[in-house]
């Protein structure tokens, strides 16, 4: 039965159900148990934002607090995966990826290839991304384009509680290293989620809104921003098709191309910095493979090419909002040669 729970609860449920089903699944990260042994409520917070709460007591010995050394514990998780476990490790803020990136892109991503298929690395690395919580430049980046660039990694960004649970279960069962991106602003959002275990396969984009006038391709938190914009545009008679990519690697090209072949217009909404991001990747895909269908140039709506500001007012301008998406759609629908 599907009932409304939060994104955070959906992740927690996915972890609990998989840990129940498969004893090789372990959870590790900074404060993932959180203060175990401290008095009262302080005992086992379950992560800095509470995603792993309750798992420490439910699965003794399988939820580990790690030292503040990403190169050590992300490396350990990757090693454990190669040795037969299915760790779900938390890279608390994706901004910290720099100190453990070699472990991820040179080791985990390449083991299966370089060992001729004799090794698998079924690790899930959960990580928080995105701006909006006043966490400033070093705790608010997106960075998923950097991981998408690396062959051998899967990169997934669920936008809803239903997708969060299904994609986490899929990630744990997947034999490849999965970078699991959770936007900070989504943890408190709610939606219908079945009680039972289920999977959402990777490489399948979700058409969250149908429409014939323009295709909006987007991901993560920007899915909700794009839907807001689409609602506003519908009042003006412009019908937007909104596609949630869900996974950047593997990428569902067919759904994007089919949609643009129908609408002839593309707007890509990506919170990441504008150079070499997913918006540029999708734009190139469509320009190459659906050139004949395009009736207007492609528009991208992204953050500016600057670090994330700390000032409230500046951070609010930094993050792409529904108005900017509306403006981009009006540009492509109003365009003529």
């Amino acid at each position: 039965m599907a009932r409304n729970i939060t994104y955070r609860e959906a992740l927690n449920e996915a972890l609990a159900q998989e840990m129940e089903r498969d004893e090789t699944v372990i959870v590790m990260g900074e404060d993932n148990a959180g203060g175990a042994g401290a008095p009262g409520d302080d005992d086992a917070w379950g992560g800095v934002l509470g995603v792993t709460k309750g798992l420490y007591h439910k699965f003794p010995g399988r939820v580990l607090d790690t030292p503040i050394s990403e190169s050590a514990f992300i490396g350990a998780a990757i090693g454990a995966a190669t040795a037969g476990m299915r760790p779900v490790a938390e890279l608390m803020f994706v901004d910290f990826m720099g100190v453990c990136f070699d472990q991820i892109y040179n080791q985990a991503a390449k083991f299966r290839y370089m060992f001729g298929g004799k090794a698998i690395t079924p690790v899930v690395i959960r990580t928080m991304y995105g701006a909006g919580l006043r966490a400033a430049a070093q705790h608010s980046q997106c960075l998923y384009p950097l991981f998408t660039h690396i062959p051998g990694l899967k990169v997934v960004l669920p936008a809803t509680p239903y997708d969060a649970k299904g994609m986490m279960i899929q990630a744990i069962r997947d034999n490849d290293p999965v970078m699991f991106f959770e936007h900070k602003a989504l943890y408190d959002t709610s939606g219908p989620v079945p009680e039972e275990s289920y999977v959402v396969p990777f490489g399948e984009a979700n058409v969250v809104r149908e429409g014939g006038d323009v295709t909006i391709v987007t991901l993560g938190r920007m899915v909700h921003t794009s839907l807001d914009a689409a609602g506003q545009l519908a009042a003006d008679g412009v019908q937007c098709e909104v596609i949630d990519l869900r996974t950047t690697s593997p990428l569902d090209e067919d759904t994007v191309l089919e949609s643009v072949e129908g609408t002839g217009r593309l707007v890509v909404v990506d919170e990441a910095h504008p150079r070499c991001n997913i918006a540029t990747d999708i734009s190139a895909l469509v320009a190459r493979k659906a050139f004949g269908s395009l009736r207007a140039p492609i528009e991208m709506v992204t953050a500016p090419h600057t670090p994330v500001p700390f000032s409230n007012a500046l951070e609010d301008i930094y993050i792409p909002d529904a108005q900017r998406v509306v403006n981009a759609v009006k540009t492509v629908t109003g365009w003529s040669r």
């Binding site: 039965m1 239903y162 039972e196 275990s197 289920y198 999977v199 396969p201 399948e204 058409v207 067919d254």
Partner: protein, 366 residues
């Protein structure tokens, strides 16, 4: 605004088929309506003149909210305008957040399996609706509420389906029949009318065959087991489909009007197929339904064993592309209703006619 399904609270008119001033006959299309679960067409219940359209296209209307006024010429404009104002007030007020979702979902433990079922209606005979392969209790969306006015109407999720346990054991009809009997026991129903669709028809017959005294009547909608011919490609395609692209054309074969296969319908089917245990259940059940490309199972024998004991009706959509409507004649001794303009799911495409057939069967039982 009709109530389609037990949890429906809101509907949205996507298009009006009539305008103010139009004369309508009973059965004419009035409006296309979209709900959270399904889209469908509302038909006029009686003849009359459409005097006022109340609900606008695209706005949410609570169930039972007035969407249009059909009245004879004698009714004056003042009375109509006053009624419109009242109706608009209801629509504009919306649905309160704490409004109940309808009948509560219940579960019964049957032989270690959790079986979900939901019911509506306070008085009258007990009717249990049994869905088909790959379906669930929502197959009866258009029937359950209207029939609840006169009967106690329940629908269950068979093992491997809906929100029931996703374990079908050896997948034989006996396992599925156990679930039906288990729900009747949980309801405390000594006797009940069974309505079974497709594989659910085979199940209903199996229940009646083992316990004829328990069943007051049988309405079989496109039941399995009455002939060799079946669209095995559809069944295998449904079980094997992994993506929306693969599932959509398969689902289309169920209906006479393929436009009923909305994105929402396909998404809901995919979400069901992705639940743990469903893939295995659906493939196990294929072994029960198919022998190569032909039907396995002999419902005719089960029916013959019943003799004349209980009234039996068979309903079939003439445009059925899964099991040919011609097999209806093999349901010996049954009253036959073959419905034009309907495929394998007449309870969705022509619910009013299916409801009439069920009620007529129940009347024959008393």
């Amino acid at each position: 605004m009709p109530k389609w399904g037990l949890s429906m609270q809101l509907g949205k008119i996507t298009a009006w088929a009539v305008a103010e001033g139009d004369e309508v006959q009973a059965g004419d299309d009035l409006a296309d309506i979209e709900t959270e679960k399904i889209t469908g067409t509302l038909e006029a219940a009686d003849a009359g003149t459409v005097r006022r359209i109340v609900a606008r296209v695209g706005e949410d209307v609570p169930v039972s909210g007035t969407i249009a006024l059909i009245a004879p010429a004698e009714v004056g404009d003042d009375a109509l305008d006053a009624a419109v104002l009242e109706a608009r007030a209801v629509i504009d007020a919306g649905v309160p957040d704490d409004a109940g979702g309808g009948a509560e979902l219940q579960t019964a433990d049957v032989g270690g399996r959790k079986i979900s079922y939901a019911g509506a209606g306070q008085d009258g005979d007990v009717i249990l609706l049994v869905h088909g392969y790959g379906g669930d209790r929502n197959s009866w969306l258009f029937l359950q509420e209207p029939m609840a006015a006169k009967y106690r109407v329940y629908a269950l999720d068979l093992p491997g389906h809906g929100t029931s346990a996703k374990d079908v054991g050896d997948g034989t009809l006996g396992v599925l029949a156990d679930a039906v009997t288990g729900v009747l026991d949980a309801l405390g129903a000594g006797r009940a009318h069974l309505v079974g669709h497709s594989m659910g028809g085979g199940v209903a017959l199996a229940v009646a065959a083992r316990d004829p005294g328990r069943i007051a009547s049988l309405t079989l909608i496109a039941p399995t087991g009455f002939g060799a011919e079946i669209n095995a490609g559809y069944l295998r395609g449904f079980a094997d489909a992994q993506t929306r692209r693969e599932l959509k054309p398969v689902a289309g074969q169920l209906f006479a009007d393929e436009s009923l296969v909305t994105r929402q319908l396909v998404d809901d089917l995919l979400a069901y197929k992705r639940l743990d245990g469903v893939d295995e259940s659906l493939h196990t059940l294929l072994g029960t339904l198919l022998d190569g490309d032909a039907q396995r199972g002999d419902s005719a024998a089960a029916l013959a064993a019943l003799g004349d004991a209980i009234p039996v009706t068979v309903v079939w959509g003439r445009a059925d592309r899964i099991i040919p409507a011609a097999q209806a004649v093999s349901v010996t001794g049954a009253v036959r209703h073959v419905i034009d303009g309907a495929g394998h799911m007449p309870q969705m495409e022509r619910p009013a006619e299916v409801q009439a057939a069920i009620e007529e069967t129940i009347a024959r039982a008393s």
